[in-house]
């Protein structure tokens, strides 16, 4: 791609963002107006199920293929993303129980399906399946945009191994897509928010909860000056939208047994029907307070129809919900942080539509924390679209780059950087106390530079600027003894906001290690002081302090230790 713009024979690169999920995939691009938009495929789906199905040699994809899970399950391939680049011993075949089963083929995983008109099944490796899937996604994007799409940025989970990355890149290449970059899903979600035109660059700690169809991944990300560092991740490969579907399935199955004395879950086709409709019901419950389920000929030719309301669903899924919140708490602990440190929680993935999960998170975190989920924040982006949008944004950034340029930029030489272990800030006075205000947060990648303006004392005069390392302490105040026990399940008024927060906790900053002192003399009354701190990778400091509007600045440098 060295002379991409020189030769006219060279096809112009046209890149999109792809979110390639285990249960569904999305494609997105940046519109000429600079907004990310998720592209709908021919059927109008923006979340395209990652399912391929074959009937008489004809390939079905997306929703059409998913519907085949009932009648043509042995020739339908689903949940294959996580098998890519792995061998049969290290995969969990549970999700594929009701579709084509994974088999061993050499060192990789394969599926045996009748993908041609002939009767004998052929073995299709998971790479080939991925290629076919990506080819269909590429075709949908090309049809929508009216321009051949030939490159993509694809999102992958944070625990994707190098072998998996290589396998995905190769499969994409086979499908005619040049992989510009593979980016991790949680970071893509953060970027989808930061890429909004109204967003400003702030330093924040973000928890990204990616609650997918079959697995959940939570990550803590430090966003410092628009640069992202993953501090900790946690994965649960059994928790996801499917766990919630199972609750609905069990609920309706029990109801069915009461009426008809047979268990629809014991019939393979009945279970598949329940699963498909149960998922739709669960999604409907995220939007409305009531949802219907009606299945024709569920088992033994009996038509079945029933409704469920949200409250009942939430009661039933209490355990699963606590697993979700437990995962979030676990990852914050793993990052050696406190829940109070988190500035933002981003819910991503299909299961995040469930209102209760976001509400529980709302109660879990402090009030200053923004919970970005549809039920808690009206301006939030559709959680299912986050990673595709982030990928599209990244694609628009690196589209013009040479392949070599991208490779060099994502090389460990560049990405591995020293991060501040403690926040650096300025000591200030509030009343008679001296206090600390962080200017550069912990986990800021170096080199870094921050400028801030502080108020000078009202009466003006000489001002002391003391630069120091700070420490965050959590002050716990207990206003009253512990409240009574948790309410039991019969109580439909599920209101847990007041009986669990018995203690108030707040963050308090303290100066730990003063680094430098500077004096600004003769500040006008009501004036401001501007402080510029520049930290070198070797921990050297350059500090400049001046009065806003003033000509002369006080400068000083501290040599790095390393």
């Amino acid at each position: 791609m060295g002379d991409a713009n020189g030769a006219s024979t060279e096809v112009e690169r046209f890149a999109i963002g792809i979110s390639f999920g285990n249960s569904s995939s999305s494609i997105a691009r940046i519109s000429p107006e600079g907004k990310a938009e998720v592209i709908a495929n021919e059927e109008g789906d923006r979340q395209i199920p990652s399912v391929l199905s074959y009937i008489d040699g004809e390939e079905y994809h997306g929703t059409q293929a998913k519907a085949q899970l009932i009648r043509n399950s042995s020739n339908t391939i689903a949940y294959f993303r996580d098998y890519l680049g792995k061998d049969i011993k290290s995969i969990d075949p549970t999700p594929c129980h009701q579709s084509a089963h994974p088999q061993q083929s050499g060192s990789t995983v394969a599926f045996s399906v009748r993908d041609s008109a002939s009767e004998t099944p052929s073995t299709v490796t998971v790479s080939e399946v991925t290629t076919r899937h990506l080819r269909r996604l590429k075709q949908s994007a090309t049809d929508f945009l009216g321009k051949e799409v030939n490159a993509a940025v694809i999102t992958v989970p944070t625990d994707f191994t190098d072998a998996q990355r290589e396998a995905l890149t190769a499969a994409a290449k086979e499908a005619g897509l040049e992989v510009l970059q593979l980016i991790s899903e949680p970071v893509a979600a953060v970027m989808a928010y930061d890429a909004r035109p109204e967003a400003t660059v702030t330093d924040k700690l973000v928890v990204v909860a990616d609650l997918g169809g079959t697995r959940s991944d939570v990550a803590v990300i430090a966003s410092r000056g628009g640069m992202y560092t993953v501090l900790a991740t946690a994965h649960d490969y059994e928790l996801g939208g499917a766990s919630l579907d199972q609750i609905i399935i069990d609920h309706f199955a029990k109801e069915f047994i009461k009426k008809h004395k047979t268990d629809p879950r014991e019939d393979a086709r009945g279970l598949a029907k329940l699963k498909l409709e149960g998922e739709a019901t669960r999604k409907a419950l995220s939007l409305g307070t009531n949802a219907q389920l009606s299945i024709e000929s569920l088992v033994d030719g009996i038509d079945y129809g029933s409704t469920i309301n949200r409250t009942r669903f939430e009661l039933l899924s209490g355990k699963v919900f606590s697993q979700f919140t437990g995962l979030i708490e676990q990852v914050v602990k793993k990052a050696e942080l406190d829940l109070l440190d988190i500035d933002e929680v981003i819910f991503s993935g299909g299961a995040s539509h469930t209102p209760k999960i976001a509400q529980l998170a709302r109660n879990l975190f402090s009030e200053k924390t923004t919970i970005l989920a549809p039920s808690t924040e009206v301006t939030s982006i559709n959680p299912s679209e986050l990673s595709a949008r982030g990928a599209a944004f990244q694609a628009s950034l690196v589209q013009e780059f040479d392949a070599e340029d991208v490779e060099q930029s994502i090389h460990p030489m560049v990405t591995v950087t020293p991060h501040l272990s403690k926040p650096i800030g300025v000591e200030f006075s509030s009343g008679t106390d001296t206090n600390f205000q962080p200017l550069l947060g912990a986990q800021t990648a170096l080199p870094a530079r921050r400028i801030a303006q502080y108020l000078a004392p009202k009466e003006g005069g000489d001002v002391l600027v003391r630069i120091a390392e700070g420490v965050r302490e959590i002050k716990v105040t207990k206003p009253e003894p512990k409240a009574k026990e948790e309410k039991d399940e019969e109580d439909s008024d599920f209101d847990d906001s007041d009986d669990e927060e018995e203690e108030t906790r707040e963050v308090i900053w303290k100066v730990e290690n003063p680094v430098a002192e500077l004096a600004v003399k003769g500040v006008k009354p009501g004036g401001k002081v501007e402080v510029m701190v520049h930290v070198n990778p070797d921990l050297g400091l350059q500090i400049a302090v001046r009065e806003v509007g003033g000509q002369t600045a006080v400068r000083g440098a501290i040599n790095g230790s390393a």
Binding site: Q181, I183, S184, A188, V201, I221, G225, G226, Y228, T229, V230, L231, G390, Q394, L397, V398, S409, I410, V414, T415, V416, T417, P418, H419, L420, S421, F428, S429, S430, N435, L439, A445, L446, P447, R449, I451, A452, Q453, L455, A456, G461, V463, L464, E469, N513, P514, V515, A516, E517, A519, K521, V535, P537, L539, L541, V554, G556, I558, S561, A562
Partner: protein, 447 residues
């Protein structure tokens, strides 16, 4: 990166007794850093990567990026408006707007009808920045000379209205390319260059785009034909409303107004017709001077001649063939006839000879019995003669030619020996009886 954060907290006052060299006192060092992996995404990371790879500091990087941005806008400026303004143009009055070259006013005379609305808008902005009367006042020119500014406004207003722009483009002399005269074309290459430029200029009036190109000496015949076909069926949007006389819009002279409107419409129609005729005659001229057409005609004629010749030769060859075959057939027939005649004569002779031989043999037979005196000793009785002759007749009638000859020979050898003759006849009669030709007992004497 370098955005200033306003923090609403108050800094402490300098405690008395605090002093340091240059007001700066280092007190400690930072805690050791932790190495972590940055996620390689986002614009800020890319900026970080750029700095790190090129070893730039924040301020250096900002400066370089800013410089690059500046360069881009300057380059844009350069190709937008680089034309000097004609002093004559500056003194024009806006009310004579019909006479002004709107593109030249905006400095777009090298683009003309190719200028995009975006270019026009930008050019207008640039010109306004330079010629706004307020600006002139600020620079100390107080003569309130806003004539050219008005011209600019007029030109922009006209060029941004697609209908009026087309009207102006239709009669824009600056975009006109004169058709070449015959004397200008001294070499075939001149033809393509000069007429090509002319047709390219005329093509701007075409409703159908893209317009085929004149091509060069090697353009295939089909394309050349398509080119002339296109131009003979030229579909033009050219209008001549721009040249219309101004219609008075005061209500009093309505008749006058109608009269002028009618006159204008007629003039437009006339000009349009004239334009079509003009273009047609020019295409005729071009086609006439086009060496390729002559060559194609020659080639076509040569091709036709060759075809005709081939056809004639073929006919001639066929005729000759036919005649030759006919002669051969005649000859063969003649030969066959002669052969048949000879054969017939030969057969006739043989038959006659055989007949003669048979006759002679029969005579031999008759004479043989007569020579032996009808096998009688002495004078033969009439009855004996009759029966002998009767038998001989019988044998003669039943015997065939060859046997007759054999019998005759034997009888000749027997001569006058009556016994031998008799034996010969008896054996013959027996043989014939054996062959079933005569019945036993038919022969009465030779038993």
């Amino acid at each position: 990166m370098a955005s200033v954060k306003a923090v609403n907290v108050q800094l402490p006052s300098l405690p008395s007794g605090w002093s340091a060299d240059k007001d700066f006192k280092p007190v400690g060092t930072l805690s050791p850093a932790i190495k972590r992996n940055l996620e390689p995404v986002g614009p800020h990371f890319l900026a970080h990567a750029r700095r790190k790879r090129h070893n730039r500091t924040f301020s250096e990087d900002e400066r370089i990026e800013a410089q690059q941005n500046v360069k881009k806008t300057e380059a844009e400026d350069d190709n937008e408006i680089s034309e000097d303004e004609d002093p004559v143009m500056m003194t024009r009055e806006a009310k004579d707007w019909k006479g002004q070259d709107h593109y030249a006013v905006l400095g777009l005379s090298k683009y003309r009808w190719r200028a995009t609305p975006e270019q026009i808008r930008r050019a207008h902005r640039k010109k306004v920045l330079r010629h706004h009367p307020d600006k002139k006042a600020a620079m100390g020119q107080t003569d309130e000379d806003d004539r050219f500014f008005k011209c600019i406004q007029k030109a922009t207003e006209l060029l941004l209205d697609p209908v009026r722009r087309r009207q102006f483009d239709s009669v824009d002399e600056g975009a006109e390319v004169e058709p070449p005269s015959k004397s200008q074309i001294k070499k075939p290459s001149h033809f393509y260059k000069l007429w090509g430029a002319f047709f390219e200029a005329e093509a701007r009036f075409s409703n159908k785009q893209p317009v085929p190109k004149l091509g060069d000496d090697n353009t295939p015949e089909a394309e050349v034909r398509a080119f002339y076909d296109f131009w003979y069926n030229f579909d033009s949007w050219r209008t001549f409303e721009y040249l219309n006389e101004d219609v008075p819009d005061d209500g009093e002279s309505r008749d006058q107004k109608r009269h002028i409107e009618k006159k204008n419409a007629n003039a437009c129609r006339k000009r349009k017709t004239e334009d079509i005729v003009r273009l047609r005659s020019l295409i005729d001229q071009a086609a006439e001077q086009d060496e390729r057409i002559k060559r194609f005609k020659q080639q076509a004629r040569a091709g036709k001649d060759a075809k005709r010749k081939a056809k004639e030769e073929e006919a001639k060859r066929l005729q000759e063939e036919k005649e030759r075959k006919k002669a051969e057939a005649e000859k063969a027939a003649k030969e066959a006839e002669e052969a048949a005649k000879a054969e017939r004569e030969k057969n006739k002779k043989a038959k006659e000879a055989a007949k003669n031989a048979a006759k002679k043999n029969k005579r031999v037979l008759k004479s043989s019995v007569k020579d032996v005196n009808y096998f009688a000793d002495g004078e033969a009785s009439a009855a004996q003669v009759d029966s002998v002759l009767g038998d001989v007749e019988l044998i003669q009638s039943k015997i065939d030619v060859d046997e007759l000859a054999a019998l005759a020979e034997r009888l000749t050898l027997a001569g006058k020996d009556s016994n031998a003759v008799k034996t010969a006849y008896t054996e013959e009669a027996k043989r014939l009886a054996g062959a079933g030709k005569i019945k036993e007992g038919d022969a009465k004497f030779f038993v």
